[in-house]
């Protein structure tokens, strides 16, 4: 059962899909962000000093007993409702018995045949605009285990380690495990479906406010089950279970890799071993973990130290009333109200700017202006600072109201784009609001038409050759004249108005004014 690091044979994805139909099953663990643990009053802060958030209960000391966190149950019900699940009117916890050093009681308090919610679905949107419905088998409550740190080995895994350290801060943090029914029919889109499902689930729990859903911090973890069956077959093949696939990209890659690996095994006449596998982010392969069979026996039985949970219909309905709009539907609604293209919307979503742009529009900016500033100027500076837009804005004190105000200064004709960027510099330097900065720096478009006309006359007179070209129909040559006029106006002219005036003077085209 030692971990093998031998790279296994795979066959190309396209060939694999030509012969086999992939079947997926995803088990996603979501850590709830309750203030205290599932069965005791310990804090749940991430990254605290090891073993500083523990007590007799979560350490499993002899005699200690669990007491259920009501808030955790409410979060579980809200997740169930958001996934269209039925909420059990009566359910219990069960003990899942197995030995492991980071599990204080050597049983995990979980749910077995009586999950709090079951039989739901989640529609996920794919790149091509189509929708795939993922059927949810169950979403149940359980407690997290401690965390083992293996010291002395080359890989950080237990194999080869000289000793292990255990941090029980995580032990007892509430988890919701969301299990899909077998996902069939996705074909070559299976990796994309898996990724889109996990992304959609992440968006939902974040919108519910029940979890940080940070895959990088382990507050959302994904196990990927993959099996193949020959096309046209009606019986599922043997599955592998790839544990702790901890980014959206890895979910997609792990599914793809397992499809290629299974196909190679099957094509060579072999049979797939039912086992857990480890995903290696760096090399993009999975390696064999522990052989797992259906005979694995956790000796589940109802947890006698907890009383059954019987959420009333009133409670369930009051929680249903707190559900936020489905994130996917909400995005579609906002995209249409903002008038963004699919590409523009995807950029905004990927940059995590949906909420920010919503706030900016609510503060009075046009959707186009809001997007231009956040995805443009602010994103560029965030990128230069090596961070994401939202945390960057927060760190430099830039708010949606600032952006809306700046955008208002432009659309009202007070500032042009170049002046606006100057104003930004001032806002970022902490000089005040955009209006305060513009006032302090004396930034204001020249509104005196006499001054503009004077500058235009002067530049035309000084550039007779260019003026002739423009008169002869080479309109693009006017750019050089506009630049000089703007220079005359010390940058504080309205470029569009200048352009219109030049063209009117030279070609007789109607002036904007």
């Amino acid at each position: 059962m030692a971990t093998t690091t031998t790279t296994e044979v795979t066959i190309p994805f396209v060939e694999a899909l030509a012969a086999y139909e992939p079947v997926l099953g995803l088990e996603v663990h979501v850590e709830l962000n309750t203030a205290t643990k599932m069965f005791c009053g310990c804090a749940t802060e991430f990254g605290a000093e090891p073993n500083s958030q523990v007590c007799p209960v979560c350490l499993g000391l002899p005699g200690a007993l669990p007491v259920l966190n009501e808030k955790g149950v409410e979060s579980a019900i809200r997740i169930g409702l958001a996934l269209g699940c039925e909420i059990a009117p009566w359910c219990r916890f069960a003990r899942k018995n197995y030995f492991y050093p980071d599990m204080p009681k050597n049983f995990q308090t979980s749910q077995y045949d009586e999950p709090i919610s079951h039989d739901g679905h989640l529609d996920v949107e794919l790149e091509d605009g189509s929708t795939y419905r993922v059927e949810i088998e169950r979403a149940h409550m359980e407690e997290d285990t401690g965390k083992s740190l293996h010291i002395g080995g080359a890989t950080g895994r237990i194999h080869g380690a000289t000793h292990s350290l255990v941090d029980y801060n995580r032990a007892g943090i509430p988890l919701i495990e969301i299990v899909t029914k077998p996902m069939v029919g996705a074909g070559e889109r299976a990796p994309e479906v898996a990724r889109a499902y996990v992304a959609a689930l992440r968006d939902i729990v974040k919108a519910l406010g029940v979890s940080d859903a940070r895959m990088d911090q382990g507050s959302m973890r994904c196990d990927v089950n993959v099996s193949l069956m020959p096309k046209g077959a009606d019986r599922f093949g043997t599955r592998s279970e790839t544990k702790n696939v901890n980014s959206l990209r890895s979910v997609e890659r792990a599914v793809r890799y397992e499809i290629e690996r299974h196909a190679a095994v099957l094509a060579s006449g072999g049979s797939v071993v039912q086992e857990t596998r480890h995903w290696h982010e760096d090399t993009g392969v999975t390696t064999s973990g522990r052989v797992k069979s259906d005979a694995d026996d956790y000796r589940y039985f109802p947890e006698p130290d907890l009383v059954p949970i019987a959420p009333s219909a009133e409670l369930v309905e009051s929680l249903r009333a707190t559900l936020p709009e489905n994130p996917a539907l909400r995005r579609r609604r906002l995209q249409s109200s903002w008038g963004y293209s699919d590409l523009e919307m995807r950029d905004v979503v990927n940059a995590g700017l949906v909420e920010t742009i919503g706030e900016t529009v609510a503060a009075g900016a046009s959707p186009a202006g809001a997007r231009k500033w956040w995805s443009g100027e602010v994103a560029r500076r965030a990128n230069a600072a090596g961070t994401d837009v939202v945390p960057y804005a927060a760190s430099v004190g830039v708010t949606a109201a600032h952006v809306a105000e700046l955008e208002g200064l432009i659309s009202s004709g007070r500032l042009n784009d170049r002046m606006a960027r100057d104003v930004w510099d001032g806002v970022l330097a902490g000089e005040g609001t955009p209006t305060q900065v513009a006032d302090a720096r004396g930034l204001r478009l020249v509104e005196d038409s006499g001054a503009i006309e004077g500058a235009v006359e002067k530049v035309i007179a000084a550039n007779p050759d260019i003026a002739t070209k423009v008169r002869d129909g080479k309109v693009q040559a006017a750019g050089a004249l506009i630049g000089q006029v703007m220079k005359e106006l010390k940058g504080q002219g309205d470029a569009a108005a200048v352009r219109a005036l030049i063209l009117a003077r030279l070609t007789g085209a109607p002036s904007a004014e």
Partner: protein, 518 residues
């Protein structure tokens, strides 16, 4: 001094309140008694003289300052070693917990401390409360004060022998299938298993979570009621705790009124299998209750026949899971089978060395009963039987206010007599187990000495859940009549230990100490 320790806890409380004695005097008298007789009885696994005297001093100071104190403030107590006590070793009678000092107090222990009862120490028990004789204690058995060559019952033999030998007026026991009641019966003392959920289990090291219940071990019914009142009541730290006031047990014990009460004799818990002398004392006790104004009805609880079988599936199942945490990783014993052993190998070696045979037997039984493919046939069926027993109680309590039976089928047996035959040991609890399966309260009070061996027999009273006060009404009424008939408490007829101890020094005591290394 000798007189002091022979008072009831109620009398001690009176003397303390009247400032006739101090808690320091009282506690010291009991520590002296422990020093004198516990070498022979071995009720204590750990004596905390210093802690008890410090607590006694504090109570005396508060009393002299004029503070109003709880009724039992200053009365010392012993605690079964299955309850977590902060700063005091807690071994559960097992090698695997040798040296473990809990960082927290059980809720029950907190209540004892808050009520000002000095804790004398921790009391011996069968390992993890598995047994009916204390012979399964990893630290050697406790001896019955009536005959040091006999068992004091179990698992709470230490608690019963402690109060029976005047080493404390009060003790805490726990009862999973009879571990308070059967020791009370065979030592001529009183023991109550309250309604499941009536006393917090937080800090009680679990044997079988759905069956365990802590309760009082005393010499009189009123003392049991006084202690019951201290330890009972809702605890938010125990999800199975009943959110209701403690039943009026003290009032019931004082009134001792059974007039018009319907006493149900359970047909399945009398007659065949019960020692003749035990049965005879039981029948006489029923007559006493009739004299006191009670009415007798016979009830049948047919499913009780299956109680023992169901119990020995449910208990090991829960125990196999509860005891899984003893794995050498965080506390207690750690055995290294080799220098480079893996965590799993250390766990296995530690459990092999740290658990006794009976514990291993039940872990294996429970693991088997919960295994996939066997679950329905064993654990599942046992739960169905449990439901039937619950129903049997419900219909019996429609016809009777309390149910009665002999507590234990026999008087105290000799050491070693049942060690090679677990089934005969298990049968000791045949009459006490149904109450645990149904969660109803039960009590054992002395019914007299069996003619054939002159040893104590017990009378069991069972009441509907949350109606614990009925136990005390019946128990106190019976106690009054029997004490009057005997011309004093039954324990007055026990051999005076000091002489029994010195007289038997050569044989039984030495033999018993040899047994410790087992």
């Amino acid at each position: 001094m000798t007189d002091l320790i022979r008072l009831t806890a109620d009398e001690m409380a009176d003397a303390l309140a009247a400032k006739d004695i101090s808690s320091l005097e009282l506690t010291r008298a009991h520590l002296e008694r422990i020093a004198a007789v516990d070498g022979g009885v071995h009720a204590f696994l750990h004596v905390d003289g210093e802690g008890a005297l410090a607590a006694a001093r504090t109570i005396d100071e508060r009393r002299s300052a004029g503070e109003a104190l709880p009724r039992l403030a200053g009365v010392p107590i012993g605690v079964k070693d299955v309850m977590a006590t902060k700063g005091l070793p807690t071994t559960c009678g097992s090698k695997i917990l040798q040296g473990w000092v809990p960082p927290y107090d059980a809720t029950l222990v907190t209540r004892l401390r808050q009520s000002g009862l000095p804790i004398l120490g921790k009391l011996n028990m069968d390992e993890f409360a598995m047994g009916s004789s204390t012979e399964h204690s990893a630290y050697g058995p406790t001896h019955n004060p009536w005959d040091l060559e006999r068992i004091p019952g179990g698992s709470g033999g230490g608690s019963a022998a402690c109060v029976g030998s005047y080493q404390a007026p009060l003790a805490i026991g726990t009862d999973t299938g009879g571990s308070i009641r059967q020791p009370a019966a065979v030592t001529g003392t009183v023991g109550t298993k309250p309604t499941y959920g009536g006393v917090s289990r937080f800090g009680l090291v679990a044997l079988a979570s759905s069956l365990d219940q802590a309760g009082p071990c005393t010499r009189t019914v009123l003392d049991a009621a006084l202690l019951h009142e201290v330890i009972g009541g809702y605890d938010p730290m125990d999800s199975t705790s009943i959110d209701a006031p403690v039943p009026p047990v003290v009032e019931a014990a004082r009134r001792a009124d059974v007039s018009g009460m319907r006493i149900g004799i359970v047909r399945e818990l009398t007659g065949e299998g019960f020692q003749a002398g035990v049965q005879k004392r039981f029948d006489e006790a029923v007559e006493h209750l009739v004299d006191a104004g009670a009415e007798v009805v016979e009830v049948s609880c047919p499913s009780f026949t299956y109680a023992l079988a169901a119990y020995y599936l449910i208990l090991p199942s829960e125990a196999s899971s509860n005891l899984a945490r003893f794995d050498a990783m965080r506390y207690g014993l750690r055995v290294w089978p080799s220098d480079d052993a893996s965590a799993e190998q250390v766990m296995a070696a530690t459990r092999a060395a740290g658990f006794g045979d009976e514990v291993k037997r039940r872990i294996i039984l429970g693991t088997y009963a919960l295994s996939s493919g066997y679950y329905d046939a064993y654990y599942g069926s046992a739960q169905k039987v449990r439901r039937l027993i619950y129903d049997d109680f419900a219909s019996a309590f429609e016809r009777a206010d309390v149910l009665v039976s002999p507590t234990s089928p026999t008087t105290a047996f000799r050491f070693g007599e049942k060690m090679t035959d677990p089934m005969s040991m298990y049968l000791q609890d045949i009459a006490t187990i149904p109450a645990n399966l149904a969660g109803v309260p039960g009590m054992s009070v002395p019914s007299g000495l069996a003619d054939e061996d002159g040893l104590p027999a017990g009378f069991q009273i069972l009441a509907p859940a949350t109606r614990d006060e009925r136990l005390y009404a019946v128990g106190a009424a019976l106690e009054q009549r029997l004490d009057a008939a005997w011309g004093g408490p039954l324990l007055d007829r026990a051999p005076t230990l000091a002489s029994a101890f010195s007289g038997a020094m050569g044989s039984s005591y030495a033999d018993a100490r040899d047994g410790e290394g087992r």
